[in-house]
């Protein structure tokens, strides 16, 4: 019996354990897919649809990275993570990218050993209440004494504490491990208010049993720049993820879309030629450790940043969020792609 047990264990370990070097790019290439950590279910950012495929802005960013590496946006596997699991999963090498509506803070950059590759969504924390159950509340400052549902281990939890302290208000935090649990408890009336990033509030509202009863309060109490992150100490992989993000922005700025990318390759504009790697003697892609048509692959797989945004959270999606500060810098927003040259 002992032998059998050891045999099974050894077999399982052999099949499941994949020893590889510290070089994430080599590791990713050898296993043939990018392992991406996403939220377990935040509509618009990452949530499995009816067919079990992950959709959303965060999920699409991982597809873009996979397209940059393999030329194929489907070579990505997703791991659903709770707020508490996410950093350990990245540190331990279980995932290659953490793209899970994670706020960029100095503590995470330094003490937790992460490197944020950019800000895919500029957000801020807000509150939502059920206007049927607590009528007459139209400002967060009226929430003194309220029970507030929040997810554990998030910046949201910390901002909440700071905001109520700064305004000298009392509150009862009701803290949940998972996003879905907090939603369910709020819906059941366990809390008076729900707090998370504003984008998340719109997503949560859709899942409530009567979405129209719920009102998002106007206050934004924090800066929540959400972005993908990678482990510290692997600059090559960091560069790839970072420049994938900038490539998405630059293609939008240059007007390159999923539909017209093949045509654009024939463009005479040197900027576009350089971006799409059709310039003679270009080394931009190979310097990154990728092929020279990496930007073409990204746009083919997911479209540019604007397309990803519109499809998942924008006015074309159930969330109906306007671009606002997430517009390109040329249109008065904060999204600014570093030059690819």
């Amino acid at each position: 019996m002992k032998h059998v047990a050891i045999g099974i264990l050894a077999g399982a370990v052999g099949l499941a354990a994949s020893a590889a070097s510290a070089d994430t790019l080599d590791n990713v290439k050898s296993k043939g897919f990018v392992q991406c950590g996403v939220n377990t279910g935040l509509a618009g950012f990452s949530a499995p649809n009816n067919q079990g495929e992950w959709t959303g802005l965060d999920a699409d960013f991982c597809r873009a990275v996979a397209a940059a590496v393999f030329g194929d946006g489907t070579k990505v596997k997703f791991t659903g993570l709770s707020a508490k699991d996410r950093f350990t999963a990245l540190q331990s090498g279980e995932i290659d990218i953490l793209s899970r509506n994670t706020t960029w803070t100095i503590n995470r950059d330094t003490a937790l050993g992460l490197n944020f590759a950019g800000v895919t969504y500029y957000d801020g924390q807000g509150f939502m209440i059920n206007s049927k159950k607590v009528p007459g509340v139209n400002s967060a400052l009226q929430l003194s004494g309220a029970a507030i549902c929040v997810q554990a281990g998030t910046t949201t939890e910390l901002n909440l504490a700071d905001y109520f302290k700064a305004n000298n208000l009392q509150y009862n935090p009701v803290v949940f491990e998972k996003f879905e649990e907090a939603n369910a408890a709020y819906d059941a009336g366990r809390c008076d208010a729900y707090t998370t990033d504003q984008s998340g509030l719109y997503a949560v509202r859709l899942q409530m049993s009567s979405p129209d009863d719920h009102v998002v309060l106007p206050e934004i109490i924090s800066k929540e720049p959400l972005g993908p992150s990678v482990r510290q100490g692997d600059d090559k992989w960091f560069d790839i993820v970072k420049w994938t993000y900038y490539a998405l922005l630059n293609t939008e700025e240059a007007g390159i879309t999923q539909a017209n990318v093949e045509e654009m390759k024939k463009s005479t504009n040197p900027d576009i030629k350089r971006l799409l790697g059709v310039e003679a003697e270009t080394k931009i892609g190979t310097d990154l450790g990728l092929s020279n048509d990496w930007v073409v692959n990204i746009v083919k797989a997911t479209g540019n940043y604007g397309e990803i945004f519109e499809r998942n959270v924008g006015t074309g999606s159930p969330l109906k969020i306007s671009r606002g500060i997430n517009a390109l810098w040329t249109k008065g927003g904060l999204q600014y792609g570093m030059p690819i040259r």
Binding site: K2, V13, G93
Partner: protein, 386 residues
Amino acid sequence: MSDHDISFVRTEMAQAEPAPRNQVGLAGWARRNLFSTPLNTVMTAVALIAIAWFVPRMLNWLLFDAVWSGENRTACLTVEQGGQLPAGWSGACWPFVISRFGYFMFGRYPIDERWRVILCGLIFVALLVPLLIPRVPFKRLNAILFFGVFPFVAFFLLVGGAFGLRYVETSLWGGLMVTLVLSYVGIVVSLPLGILLALGRRSRMPIVKLLSVIFIETVRGVPLVTVLFMAAFMLPLFVPPGMTFDKLLRALVGVSLFASAYMAEVIRGGLQAIPRGQYEGADSLGLGYWQKMGLIVMPQALKLVIPGIVNSFISLFKDTTLVLIISMFDLLGVVKQSISGDPTWATPQTAKTGYIFAALIFWVFCFGMSRYSQYMERRLDTGYRR
């Protein structure tokens, strides 16, 4: 004053009178068992009232008032909640369970490949049932197949990636199949490991003994959640960078180690109950340590503690639910996820319905195991009972 004065002596025995009406039959039974003293009568009355209050309510909720068909949550909502049912209605929402049944059993295992899981389950039952019935012959062959061959068959069937079977990653596994996989592996690993640890704890070698004691007591002193937490989050820190383990495998390691510490204590109890003479007899026959243990001591010790071992299995089976805390989806995990993460079926009755369904499945398994252990206990009882 003569003998003839004796007027009459019966020649035959008097017919025995039937017992008083209130001592026999239903009335007598009730009198003895329900109304023997005033206190007893009061308790019976209280119990009857409680039953009369509880049972009809329960049956109504579960069966008579329950909803049996529907497409989505509106089927289980009252008028004020936006459905059609009368206000104040309360009952089980079975269409939730029916529509999610496949998900509860297999998780996100691809629908086209589910026959593999079912086949695996059938082989499991086909091997397990004859093993459990004492009269069926070929026990040894059966055991070898069940513990030695089946794991490999199951491994290739479930994971795939060979023999033309599609590879199904374990992150797609879920539901009852994960519960059963975790329990089966936990049982198969923890029994031998537990035997080794129990022997280690009773060993005369001080270092081996010390290490066994430290392991057993540490694991028994902390909650399983902590062990799983270590397996999930610390294990990756302990190995070289880039080496990753499957999440299910980590849970398996955690559950098995935890169960083996408890198993070790159960088996140690059996070892202690074996009289010294048995050890000395084996020594005098010139048997080595492993021969002594394997041929003389263990068979007797294990037989003594079969009920304890089965109880450990039951605990293990129940403990597998804890993997939901490290974000894995066993039966309870998928039920919980369907309850809180899916607006399609969000109604006030969904949670109760889902958990009662899960409770029923767990109960059937655990109750079955405990009944079997009682049966074996009676069968193996060698007559020491008072």
